[in-house]
Amino acid sequence: MNGYLGVDIGSISTKAVVIDDNKKIIASSYIWTEGNPIKAVKKVLNNIKEQLEDKNICIIGVGTTGSARKLIGTMIGANSIKNEITAHAIGTLSLHKNVRTIIEIGGQDSKIILLEDGIVTDYAMNTLCAAGTGSFLSSQSKRLGVNVEDFGTIALESKHPTNVAARCTVFAESDLVHKIQMGYKKEDIIAGLCYSVASNYLNNVAKGKKIKSPIIFQGGVSKNIGVKKAFEQILKEKIITDENGHLMGALGSAILSMNNKLKEPFSFKISDSNFETNAQECNKCPNHCEIIIVKKDGKKLDAWGNRCDNGKIAT
């Protein structure tokens, strides 16, 4: 049987799925990137390999997405390297045909995608600021001494969520310290944080966009039931979360790879190879481009980052 592999390498987590010809997920893996996308990808590939061991699957297409899509795509020989917006839209559409709004909050990106009749009509991503994303929540959780995974359930215990200024992570932190010293309950503060993530998202990323239901909430933060509840309260609409919500980007890139005519069998042996990346500054003109060189077992595989031909590196 044929299979297609999709890998979504985000700033915080790395996700991979294998689908069959009917776009059904037959294997999946979800781990932390921990600042090392190459190691993370090797780990997810090993996870996937174990899951497929007793099944007779031949992977003939690989797609990558996420912020490390280019690096990993080069590494594992992907036939589709696509941005997160497109991958998420396609992945979600394959499961929820009539979705109108996708709310996605990840580690450092947050985005909104609006669809109509299965076509993206509008989208937005956070611009320069990462306030209200997953990294905001995890940095606050450290301050409160609570696991970020427990945030949602703790938030639900609160009866009177506290107002926390979440416009900016730095100011939110000082507001938070103030509230703790004033003697506010922990669950009220956590519920306040979840609420502020939702309102911050709606005021920044989703500003001026008409949010129509069905609304699907995805990304790592969608696992936080407190934020989901906050969205439901503010929007007064039902919010759908999917147990596979975190895999939508990977699913989308697997489908994109399936749609690509150029196919090549993929071997898990790749995770035994030794990959290295090297950043070097090109000094051939005043631009000083930073060039990334990827090496496989000591041999140059690809290089990018140069703005002009001066910085081209033969591979």
Binding site: S67, K82, N83, E84, I85, T86, A89, I90, L93, G118, I119, V120, T121, D122, Y123, A124, M125, T127, L128, K207, G208, I255, L256, N259, C285, P286, N287, H288, C289, E290, G305
Partner: protein
């Protein structure tokens, strides 16, 4: 009277608005001039080091261009513009540019002119003054100015006609909206326009809007726009928005007037597809490319199998 040998023109800010007029004017008077190179990271770094951190990216680049020129010419040409229309104003950067550079580099010789239509300092008066600084009499200066103005008009008409022509292209069309000094800058707008051209997109620039529409179309958004240059942007947006497949709004961070008009655009865009790109001192284009790639996917709408 001082004889000026070579005039240095920084490739930034107003240069992109008045390129033809300035070059032709200096040519007509046989004044030698040099223009700084295209923006690069060294220029940005030098500008950043000399500039207050709150200034916009475009101003930081401009200062970098001045630094790159100052040892290669005898004087730098930095005009001051306060108002181009009686009841309007331009960004305060253009009001203070002369004084700013003078304060940063007190030893640098600067030639300039001052346009402030509010106080009856018109463009022709400004150029007569400029001619005087260069050692030319009024008659020769006016002649040189008029000839240069004519060339500028011809070039603008040509650009505007070709923009109208581009509208009938079969390719997907994107309006690139922003100040010319951002759209044409090597580090800012070129990243975007190069990527779009590579993907077979027809680009229409907001400054290609035919002149006759500038004072007309913005009224559909707001009856009065105080900032002349942003008024032009709003007019371009309202004129083109239904004629193109998508609009990319390009802003240098932080821009005061843009923050106001970008908000107006986002609120009044209706069904048109708008992507807002904010440029800061990023060292990599990855974030920009991700947004462009998904924007093109969206307007082409064909990858959704």
């Amino acid at each position: 009277m001082i004889i000026i040998l070579t005039v240095g023109i920084p490739r930034g800010l107003l240069y992109y608005r008045y390129e033809t007029l300035w070059k032709e004017f200096f040519n007509n008077l046989n004044v030698k001039y040099i223009i700084s190179d295209n923006s690069n990271f060294k220029i940005l770094k030098d500008g950043k080091n000399k500039c207050i951190d709150e200034a916009c990216l475009s101003l930081k680049l401009f200062i970098g261009h001045v630094i790159s020129l100052k040892d290669k010419c005898d004087c730098i040409f930095i005009p001051r513009i306060y108002s181009l229309e009686k009841t309007e104003q331009v960004c305060t950067n253009f009001n203070c540019l002369y004084d700013l550079i003078h304060n940063l580099f007190p030893d640098l010789k600067i030639i300039n002119y001052n346009i402030d239509v509010k106080r009856k300092n018109t463009e022709i008066k400004a150029f007569i003054n400029l001619g005087k600084q260069l050692g030319f009499n009024k008659k020769d200066t006016i002649k040189a100015y008029k000839m240069a103005k004519e060339k500028e008009n011809i070039k603008q008409t040509y650009i505007q006609n070709s923009a109208e022509h581009k509208l009938s292209s079969n390719k997907k069309k994107i309006l690139l909206l922003g100040h010319p000094y951002n759209l044409n800058d090597n580090l800012i707008g070129k990243t975007v326009s190069n990527y779009l051209s590579k993907n077979n997109i027809e680009i229409i620039y907001s400054y290609e809007l035919p002149k006759k529409y500038i004072n007309e179309y913005y009224k559909k958004i707001s009856p009065k726009v105080h900032w002349t240059m942003n008024k032009e942007l709003l007019s371009a947006f309202m004129y083109y928005k239904d004629k193109v497949d998508g609009v990319i709004v390009l802003t240098a961070f932080p821009c005061g007037p843009d923050s106001l008009t970008n908000e107006m655009i986002l609120r009044k865009k209706g069904k048109s597809k708008v992507l807002l790109l904010t440029f800061e001192e990023l060292s990599s284009d990855v974030a920009v490319i991700t947004r462009l790639e998904s924007f093109i996917d969206m307007i082409e709408g064909c990858v959704y199998a």
